[in-house]
């Protein structure tokens, strides 16, 4: 097992370096913007001396590298700094919105993942049957429609026409958990459709790939039934590729929420990031950018660790 630990430590170190590089890239990117936070905040009628005053106030007049290192040291101490535009602590602004993004992504995942694997297995078990064809056509069309369009269609049917579900998912802390769940039903379905289709197709392909391997034929020759071949012989070996696809789609979910946020007015991290960029609110852009990067890296790491744990060859490698 210690080879696994060594691998995890190595990956975490590589991840940390990547995050650092990402933070530098964002800093340089936002620095290179035409105009600067002061003009973005004061807008159209700002007079030159107004701008100068604001820049001094926001410590924008210090040389860039000094500002970057002070920022990094702050982050190291856990202080993400304050938003340039309204002086609110960045951690508080991001924390709430990121939890919303995760809440929606998790809701979509908890429904999509088991359903996708089940449908994938069925499609593989009854390959070339009407069920298999039906599932592949519907999944193909699900991933072919742009998700914001799917969102609008769902709103038109369930919110406007039938009126049984809220068309707008602007949840807030005051809401009870039940209310929140009801509010995010439609966005969850929108997100889920695309991810479900992709995962199902991958699961089906993985299982079919395994069904052609020699040990499956051996199982048949040992008189093992079709169902048992799938869940006892095929699935354990299909876990690694399936996990990889699931994790990759979870990462997409966290990002895919941006579009859904706009359609359903959902207070997620994507909208905050886009607003912050247009307002050149550097600390907010830095922090949310890093959060996205860290989520990505952690998800990839979990995928690798899980695929090692599920594959006996690697697990008992040392």
């Amino acid at each position: 097992m210690d080879s696994l630990k060594k691998m995890v430590v190595k990956r975490l170190a590589a991840g940390a370096v990547t995050v650092l590089v990402v933070s530098i890239l964002i800093f340089v990117g936002v620095e290179a913007l035409p105009g600067d936070p002061a003009t973005a905040i004061l807008g159209q009628q700002a007079t030159p001396e107004n701008l100068a005053a604001l820049r001094k106030e926001l410590k924008l007049d210090m040389p860039p590298h000094v500002r970057y290192f002070s920022w990094v040291s702050d982050v190291a101490r856990g202080d993400l700094g304050r938003s340039l535009t309204n002086q609110r602590p960045v951690a508080e602004m991001i924390g709430w919105r990121f939890s919303n993004t995760l809440f929606l992504a998790l809701a979509a995942a908890t429904v999509a993942v088991p359903l996708a694997i089940l449908l994938g297995m069925l499609a593989a078990l009854y390959r070339e049957s009407w069920l298999d064809k039906l599932l592949s056509i519907s999944s193909l069309s699900a991933i072919s429609f742009p998700e914001f369009f799917v969102g609008y269609i769902l709103i038109a049917i369930f919110a406007v026409k039938l009126g049984i579900l809220p068309g707008v998912a602007s949840i807030h802390s005051g809401m009870g958990f039940g209310q929140k769940l009801l509010a995010i039903v439609l966005p969850t379905i929108t997100l889920m459709l695309v991810v479900l289709a992709h995962m199902m197709r991958m699961t089906r392909a993985a299982i079919i790939g395994i069904l052609t391997s020699p040990y499956i034929e051996m199982a048949k020759l040992k008189g093992v039934g079709r169902r048992r071949i799938i869940y006892h012989h095929a699935i354990p070996n299909a876990l690694a590729p399936i996990i990889n696809v699931v994790i990759m789609d979870l990462a997409w979910l966290v990002v895919g929420v941006v579009v859904v946020e706009v359609v359903f007015v959902y207070p997620g991290l994507g909208q905050l990031l886009v607003d912050a960029v247009s307002k050149r609110d550097l600390p907010v852009v830095q922090a949310s950018g890093l959060i996205f990067a860290c989520t990505y890296i952690l998800l990839n790491l979990t995928a690798d660790v899980l695929s090692i744990l599920t594959n006996p060859k690697l697990r008992t490698a040392n």
């Binding site: 590589a14 991840g15 990547t18 995050v19 590089v21 990402v22 890239l25 964002i26 990117g29 936002v30 290179a32 913007l33 193909l140 069309s141 991933i143 072919s144 429609f145 742009p146 998700e147 914001f148 369009f149 609008y152 269609i153 709103i155 038109a156 406007v160 990462a251 997409w252 966290v254 990002v255 895919g256 941006v258 579009v259 706009v262 994507g270 990031l273 886009v274 960029v277 247009s278 852009v285 950018g289 996205f292 990067a293 990505y296 890296i297």
Partner: protein, 275 residues
């Protein structure tokens, strides 16, 4: 005639796919011919239902929807194709070099790709586009570079598999240079998988552009493009009007078509290898 022979062997779904792709391409190429009006010409009232001179009705500014759809096909496909080609050019060259040269080339390129992939593509492009302005050249460069990372990974993996084959080692043993090995030994064998991936990546980019257009950073008006047409006309849905259904349907129509063709192509090339 070899083409005809393979055509005969195609499955029905592949033929349907090819038909779908062909129809869209024809519409894109013949846009100026079959479009009754100019690309951005305002001709009638807003959101007229299909009929009396407007095959699909009119859009949010009163422009003929059929004309917009056809020009939309041209713009969206042209740009998506250009981006995919650029992404493949960069990705494949990088991937093959990394696989054959190994050493610091592989290390450097792979680290860069890891960093870029550590960041969600949609968010990165949103940031860059909103900074640099959503003009077409910026759009093309940003998306093609982002997508090149995925192509790089595939090309590198493919090249690595092929590179360990004996016929590559035999070529090395007879003193062939790296350039010959890449172009004559590795690339021809990697081509089928790359072509299939090209189809899939084209669909991905196609949808990616429509998402960006939806967020207001894709192809800018007044140029017609399916993504922004869906966004601009989305309001009509809740008033039981079909207007946005056409562009969204077109996006799905082309994507499904390409997927069907790619599935068949993958199946066929897998067969060849298995025989």
């Amino acid at each position: 005639m070899q083409f005809l022979r393979t055509l005969r062997q195609t499955t029905i779904s592949a033929r349907i796919g090819m038909a779908m792709v062909l129809i869209t391409l024809l519409a894109a190429i013949l846009a100026p011919v079959i479009a009754p009006y100019e690309e951005a010409e305002v001709v009638a009232d807003v959101w007229l239902p299909p009929g009396d001179g407007h095959l699909l009705g009119t859009d949010q500014l009163g422009r003929d929807l059929f004309t917009r759809m056809v020009y939309g096909a041209r713009n969206t496909i042209a740009i998506a194709l250009l981006i995919t080609c650029l992404a493949f050019l960069v990705g494949v060259v990088g991937g093959l070099l990394a696989a054959t040269m190994r050493g610091w080339v592989d290390m450097l390129l792979s680290r860069i790709v890891d960093v870029v992939m550590a960041f969600p593509a949609l968010i990165l492009s949103l940031m860059v586009l909103s900074i640099m302005g959503a003009s077409i050249p910026v759009l093309i460069i940003v998306i093609s570079l982002l997508d090149a990372t995925k192509v790089y990974r595939l090309a590198r993996a493919l090249a690595m598999d092929i590179e360990v084959m004996e016929f590559v080692e035999a070529a090395r043993l007879s003193g062939e240079g790296t350039w010959w090995i890449i172009t004559k030994e590795i690339l021809p064998n990697a081509l089928p998988a790359l072509i299939a991936e090209f189809g899939l990546r084209f669909c991905f980019i196609f949808l990616f552009i429509s998402a960006l257009s939806f967020l207001g950073l894709g192809i800018q008006p007044p140029a017609a493009d399916w993504g922004s047409m869906v966004r601009d006309n989305a309001g009509a849905i809740s008033f039981d009007m079909m207007t946005p259904l056409w562009p969204a349907g077109a996006i799905a129509f082309l994507t499904i078509g390409i997927n069907l063709v790619v599935d068949w192509f993958l199946h066929r090339s897998a067969q060849i290898r298995a025989r």
